[in-house]
Symmetry: C2
Subunit: 284 residues, 2 copies
């Protein structure tokens, strides 16, 4: 069966109204858009039928989405947060950024990434005065065969010792920067230990978490984005071993393979070492 | 199986991430809310997997919903309009307001209903100067056994001869009012003929209709809401026979049983007669 026949076959077994709505999109010239809207209508109608959604529940859902859209301004994006707490963001990562065995697993990018930030030299302190317990971070970037990826680009960002990102405060850029690994694929920098923090709870998603008894907290983590020519860009976190929120991450981002120990040092600081393995590009 | 066992059985056959997200709502004290969120997560995850949604498609969906929420202010409700053009509003009507054979079918209420409007006497002109072709509307309100519903409350509202509702203009209340049927269940009033109009197309839903080649037009119709003690309140339209948009109503509200002829009169005006049959209350 070609795509059009498949679409017709799916429609054939369907409630008349659902089939009518899907048919209303038949003139869509973009075949992918037509497929997406057809599937969206089918799944939404199935949901409404499965739960026998009431008029009042529908009204509250409309109000929820309206409030979420209206409070999304500037750095705040409540619909991304909704996608996060419903596990959709993590589902997309696992579906679209699956890696071969041996490569470092990806996780969600989160809302705090910034492109084009300050470039640091290896060994620099990226904290820029941010409060927190000092630590050093070091690691290697390799491919799945174990070969070092010389000069890989390593972008890092994280919360400070109070659980805040620089973009949530007014202190300029802190705990954020881009480094270049050396010829052996090695990198290192100084920063502070990333502490746990709650996702924003002053909007409709916060209401949802409260009314369902869910935790808003994310375990402490370092965000890392690594790119090298010829390899899939890796967007991931390193999570802190022993963090109390590893089992209940509000956005379902934790993977066992991404948990590492920040090792206490004799001078009261910490040291993290984590190696990253990139997979080859899928198309080329 | 009780409800909790059923929920567990559904979760058992599920992808681990989806099961994990559903389990995160386990502490929800409101059992109905827990059921709704579990089903929502399951259907949304199924949709994302079925279409293999890309990161870019997800980003555009977030942008679409954000724009829809942000342009919903005052009389404008873009998320209701989205629900309308995806057939969800009509699905809810058919699911939650099904009527027994012989009773008048319901259809969507639309965004232009107002409670507590001017009360008219039978025979009055509700147009209040609105442009359009004059017409008279008359009808009977009965129950399914054929007995007249004396003193039933009949609320009516409609577009004018230019396809606009009063709330979209600044001319005060027009083409809108509440009447009381007489002892025999009969009512009548004067107004203008309701003309077809497009749903608002200057927001994200308009973009959706354009990019899918769909018509934004609704066929001309008279909105009616009839209530009587002991009966289900009926919210419906009467559609104009011969209207060019009956087959392509942007919100899927048309039902064959609701199409009627506005009869031309010798003086150039029109006359509509339509009888409404209410069903008994479901609970009591």
């Amino acid at each position: 069966m070609n795509t059009q026949d498949k679409e017709k076959a799916v429609v054939a077994g369907m409630a008349p109204l659902t089939a009518q709505v899907i048919a209303s999109f038949a003139a869509t010239s973009d075949a992918r858009l037509r497929c997406l809207l057809g599937a969206l209508v089918r799944h939404l109608h199935e949901f409404v039928r499965a739960v026998e959604l009431s008029d009042e529940e529908w009204r509250r859902a409309i109000e929820f989405l309206t409030a979420a859209g209206r409070c999304s301004q500037g750095g705040r994006q409540e619909l991304v947060l909704l996608s996060d707490v419903l596990g959709l963001s993590t589902l997309l990562v696992r579906q679209n950024h699956a890696v071969p065995l041996g490569a470092t697993e990806a996780t969600v990018m989160g809302p705090f990434y910034l492109p084009d930030v300050t470039r640091f030299s290896l060994g620099d302190d990226i904290a820029n005065g941010a409060p927190g317990t000092p630590c050093t971070v070091s690691g290697m970037v390799r491919d799945v065969a174990g070969s070092p990826l010389a000069n890989a680009t390593v972008e890092v960002w994280q919360a400070d010792g109070t659980g805040h990102y620089d973009v949530q405060l007014n202190e300029g850029q802190r705990n954020r920067g881009v480094l270049q690994a050396d010829e052996a694929g090695a990198f290192n920098f100084r920063t502070v230990v990333a502490e746990p923090y709650p996702v924003p709870t002053d909007g409709p998603v916060g209401d949802l978490l409260r009314s369902t008894g869910r935790s808003a907290w994310r375990p402490g983590h370092l965000h890392v984005r690594i790119s090298a020519v010829g390899y899939e860009t890796l967007t991931t976190h390193v999570f802190r071993h022993g963090d109390p929120y590893l089992e209940s991450d509000a956005v379902f981002g934790v993977r066992n393979s991404l948990i590492a120990a920040w090792q206490p040092q004799s001078d009261g600081t910490y040291a993290l070492h984590f190696d990253f393995v990139l997979s080859g590009q899928r198309n080329g």
